[in-house]
Amino acid sequence: MNWMYSLPLYVVHILIIPLLLIGFIRKVKARLQNRRGPSILQPFWDIAKMLSKAETISKTASGTFRMAPMVNLSAVFTAALMVPWLGVPSPIAGDLFLVVYLLAAGKFCIGLAALDTGSAFGALGASREAAVSIHAEPALVLGLAALAVHAHSSKFSTLLAGTPGNELTTILAALVVVAAWVAVIADLSRMPVDDPTTHLELTMVHEALILENSGRNLALIEYAVALKTSILLGLIGQIILMGAPRHSIGTTYLLTLLLLAIATVVLAVSETVFVKLGWKRVPNLQSFGTGAAILACLLVALKG
């Protein structure tokens, strides 16, 4: 598919889907907790409200604090154009390592911004986020690298094509989905690694990182997180579809949207059912993700 067609398609979906996804998660969570919950469109109104407010910036902060959210959003936006997370070929033919390191670049900027205000909570969040990515990044990269060796290329378009109907592909995809799911949960700071609705600073991972942000910059950061959620969940959906027989592009697109909806329901259920892990036990959970990725590599090494 020509980039002239996929680019507008992707841009439109980038503007609509992330916030819709977040609203959907909150709605399902509310229903499970016997509440009515906010409307699905609430995140849109929240972002609009934040964009219309002035910022309060600490006196200690320098230019980094003011510029980092924009750089982060730019990196995540570019990554969104490189990963075929909608089931449709992406406008830019993305490479596995390029996307992972782009997302890491965004994390680097936000980490610096958190340290910029001299806030102890920001530093706590930054150090925890860095510790979480020690397991999450290798797990994701190892899982996708196993797929890359299976497909002999590290480009997303070839990686996710797979050989349908092959039993090895199905098992490999299953292991990589487990690894990617654990890595993604940790990276996005969702339960059971971190509670997005907590108010206790000492238990926060991501919220502490963005504690000092307000107004416009906070809107940019929240939107970037929502976009990252959609990209990573869409990627997991594509890996699931790898094991299924090939369809036309339209059917893959609809199946991806369906899988995104299912993933949000699963996320909401796990956020309601699971208790947040104590911070010292988070590596225990993450090691399962890395272990699954290593098993996938073992499988590819043995069976080709």
């Binding site: 590596p283 225990n284 993450q286 090691s287 399962f288 272990g291 290593i294 073992l298 090494a301």
Partner: protein, 211 residues
């Protein structure tokens, strides 16, 4: 010497369950996983027996499911509740490190295949479960966790025998099962006794028994 399709699937899932157990510190969770593992192995035994028309093997499979899949886990959880142990957090190396060590041991066994090419492929999951059971026994400090490790070891031996020659005298296997059951009962009673005498079942602290 044909093994049914489900053998590979069952054996590998049992090995993966054992691997999962190495990474968990919660006692109840590891016992539940052991129960599921025994259940799977019992099903595998039934499948092999059905394929080759060996009624003894089917009987042993049912016995494994009932005894090691239901009764033993229930007893162990009951014992654990009586003693009051929830989580084995006193291990010499942390759970993730143990998990990765176990994973590397398994990978070595699989990758160094040319070195032990005389072993048939069907026994590899059993060897894996054996190694993992031994690892569980070595690295846990609570006595009840070591009992679970021993049980996993026995599961590995069971898988090895049914995978190798399904026409082997099955009476031996029944005998081993009985041994295991009595061992578990005794071990549970001992654990109660140790707890009552020493107020804990931390094996590393039991060095007072040195003469």
């Amino acid at each position: 010497m044909g093994l049914p399709q489900s053998f590979e699937f069952g054996a590998v899932s049992a090995a993966l369950l054992a691997l999962w157990m190495v990474g968990i510190t919660d006692f109840r969770a590891s016992v539940t996983l052991f129960g599921i593992q025994s259940f799977v192995l019992g099903l595998v035994a039934i499948a092999i027996g059905a394929r080759h028309g060996e009624p003894l093997l089917i009987l042993v499979g049912v016995a494994v499911i009932v005894l090691k899949g239901l009764i033993v886990p229930y007893y162990l959880i009951y014992a654990g509740r009586r003693i009051g142990c929830r989580r084995d957090s006193l291990m010499p190396v942390s759970a993730p490190t143990q998990f990765f060590i176990a994973l590397s041991l398994l990978s070595l066994v699989l990758l160094l295949r040319p070195l032990h090419a005389e072993l048939p492929t069907s026994t590899l999951p059993a060897v894996g479960i054996l190694i993992l059971g031994m690892m569980l026994m070595i690295t846990r400090r609570l006595a009840v966790s070591q009992i679970v490790g021993f049980l996993v070891l026995e599961n590995g031996i069971f898988l090895y025998t049914i995978g190798q020659s399904h026409s082997m005298p099955i009476v031996v296997e029944i005998g081993v099962l009985m041994d295991v059951l009595s061992c578990v009962m005794l071990a549970g009673l001992l654990a109660f006794k140790i707890n009552k005498t020493f107020e804990h079942i931390d094996v590393a602290e039991l060095t007072e028994l040195i003469g």
